[in-house]
């Protein structure tokens, strides 16, 4: 039982190979293999989480090389949260992908590879190991984005690859600087050694700058977010849900790890400029992401820009650097994963059911497709931060933390961000619930519409072959996400208390 941590990475890797091998025997075997793996993964993550939350962090030394020299896996409250989140979201999206997603075995193999990379990033206690998992995550994500049909997804994936590689390379360069300064790669050891070298040292400062900017690319903070809308919009629906829910989230978790475990709060206190840059990045991201989201016509692009602004909130919480804000950041990370993943799944479901992909297409959707519209409405309102939902709790804690730290410009933007979020979601909600479905179509254009329909019959069949019908699993996943977004909001305060010892340790 004590050897559990490495299996969190090994099991999905094994599952990935199995999914490919099983494909040689039977062509439709990828999905069951993936579900079994995800179930085992969820179980393991839950066991580890219960151990991590009940006392000291779980530490595991890989291969018997003792801690500062070998690779160490550390599971504390934060990593456990991320590991569980990855496992649960992966399992949930699988429920959607059975009918909707790209169904080849190669897709499920890559899917599990992504889960392996993400789990590795969440539990590693070694910066170079984190870089390797960052690249595994990246590679799997590029391949998954490209699994859509047509040139658009390939172009989006290539753009994602080029920008993502630069980000990861800067991260690697930052590791190089930290290694030159200290001669160690273990996170716990690094934090002690960096303090010994001195936080004023140019090497240490450069390392911090490179690591943070590298992660900013992966999180998609404003000026370097450009890969994200293309990637999310170009990928198949189940992939954009998975990636939007997990990849940036884990990068943001890595930022928290790097800033607080490796560089610690004292570094931020010694370098006010670093803190100023973080605050500036957060503020610009929140505002610019929202403004860009308002200007989008395509729903998936709008959701992608919304992520830019939501991750601005989390960078803001990191900049504030106190316990309340960090609790908020963790809650918002989990909440954002559920809400944004759910929104992407819902938009995919709606597109499959009614072919609506732009904001204008959503006019009067509530009459035509009540289940999807309700789920979309609930998730969108949760994202805005309407009280019982989880979006509210995260923002509440972050704003409270900013007030405690007296970072007034950030407080203003944080409060404003609710309005900004409302600005782009209100458009959609208004169209779904308060506009008539295209009257023109129903009345004047009935005749041409019908001919179109009969004409398009053959095309429709071809379409159905490519785009499978909507299944109960897809509906169930979407409804589950909407319910979770509300239920988690109630549970979030207790989770915040559960997280307290971990965060106290992190900020000590």
């Amino acid at each position: 039982m004590n050897d559990l941590p490495p299996f969190l990475v090994a099991v999905p890797l094994l599952g990935s190979v199995l999914a490919l091998l099983a494909g040689l025997v039977r062509s439709r075997s990828g999905w069951p293999v993936a579900v079994c793996t995800a179930l085992v993964q969820t179980g393991m993550a839950a066991v580890l989480a219960s151990r991590a939350f009940s006392g000291q962090p779980v530490r595991y030394v890989v291969g018997g090389f003792s801690a500062p020299f070998g690779i160490e896996l550390v599971i504390d409250g934060l990593s456990a949260t991320m590991a569980v989140l990855v496992a649960v979201v992966a399992l949930g999206v699988l429920g959607y992908a059975r009918v909707a997603g790209p169904r080849s075995n190669a897709f499920y193999a890559t899917y599990l590879l992504l889960v392996a990379g993400l789990s590795g990033m969440s539990i590693t206690g070694d910066v170079f190991n984190m870089y390797v998992f960052l690249e595994i995550t990246g590679l799997a994500a590029y391949a998954l984005v490209a699994s859509g049909e047509g040139g658009r997804s390939a172009r989006a994936a290539l753009k994602y690859l080029l920008v993502g590689t630069v980000g990861a390379s800067l991260f690697l360069l930052g590791i190089g600087f930290a290694y030159v300064a200290t001669g160690t790669l273990n996170m716990a050891d690094l934090s002690a050694q960096l303090a010994a070298v001195g936080y004023e040292s140019p090497l240490v400062r450069a390392a911090f700058g490179l690591l943070v900017v590298g992660l900013f690319v992966k999180i998609a903070v404003f000026p370097i977010h450009t890969w994200q809308p293309a990637a999310y919009a170009g990928a198949p629906d189940s992939v954009s849900a998975l990636i939007s829910a997990l990849v940036s989230t884990i990068a943001a978790y890595a930022l928290i790890r790097i800033v607080f475990t490796v560089f610690t709060v004292e570094f931020l206190a010694a370098n006010p400029f670093a803190q100023t840059v973080l605050v500036a990045a957060a503020v610009v991201s929140i505002v610019a992401g929202s403004v860009l989201a308002v200007t989008q016509r395509e729903i998936k692009r709008m959701l992608a820009y919304s992520s830019v602004s939501q991750f601005g909130l989390i960078v803001g919480a990191v900049a504030v650097a106190n316990g309340t804000a960090l609790t908020g950041a963790m809650i918002h990370l989990v909440g954002h994963a559920v809400m944004k993943g759910g929104l992407f799944l819902t938009s995919g479901l709606i597109a499959d059911e009614t072919d609506a992909r732009t904001v204008d297409d959503y006019r009067g959707l509530a009459e035509r497709f009540p289940v999807g519209s309700t789920a979309f409405g609930v998730l969108a309102l949760a994202m805005v931060g309407v009280p019982p939902a989880v979006g509210f709790v995260g923002k509440w804690y972050i704003a409270l933390g900013a007030v405690e730290a007296q970072a007034w410009p950030l407080v203003v933007v944080l409060l404003l961000s609710t309005l900004l979020t409302l600005a782009y979601f209100a458009r959609v909600i208004e169209r779904i619930f308060f506009r008539e479905s295209p009257d023109v179509d129903a009345g004047a254009e009935t005749a041409p519409d019908e001919t179109l329909f009969t004409d398009g019959e053959g095309e429709r069949e071809a379409d159905d072959a490519g785009r499978p019908p909507v299944s109960t699993g897809m509906r169930a996943t979407v409804v589950l996400a909407a319910v979770l977004a509300v239920v988690l909001g109630v549970a979030a305060f207790e989770y915040g208390q559960l997280l307290e010892p971990t965060i106290a340790r992190l900020l000590a």
Binding site: F128, A154, A157, L161, V166, L173, G176
Partner: protein, 118 residues
């Protein structure tokens, strides 16, 4: 000044490579050249790591060799990073093949003209 630069020539070269690589990725419209730029960029980082391990007049870290030793760890790290770089290049080239099949060109500007999105 010259002495200062010469003594740090490898660092200088590695950062020049970073600059060249970044410029190639941004400035070239040809997708393959963008990927080559990405490789140059990564090579700069590899060189940086290897230079950090270099000690003038030191021997390889073998028990039979006399002290002082060169640090072996950065080399190991870079081996891993090179593997990552190779797989990234492979994926990128695979994507480029698909893009070429779809649009019949490798020129980004031309592709952007054909597609009206974004």
């Amino acid at each position: 000044m010259i002495d200062f630069l010469v003594s740090r020539i490898y660092y200088l070269v590695s950062f020049l490579l970073l600059g060249f690589g970044a410029y190639m990725m941004i400035g070239n419209a040809n997708l393959v050249k963008k990927v080559i730029g990405m490789n140059v960029f990564q090579t700069g980082i590899f060189l940086f790591f290897i230079v950090t391990a270099f000690v003038d007049g030191a021997s390889p870290p073998l028990l039979t060799a006399p002290e002082p030793y060169v640090s072996p760890l950065p080399h190991v790290l870079i081996l891993t990073a090179i593997v990552v770089g190779v797989s990234l290049t492979a994926v990128a080239l695979g994507l480029i093949v698909r893009i070429y099949e779809e649009y019949g060109t490798l020129n980004e500007d031309a592709i952007r003209r054909v597609t009206s999105d974004e």
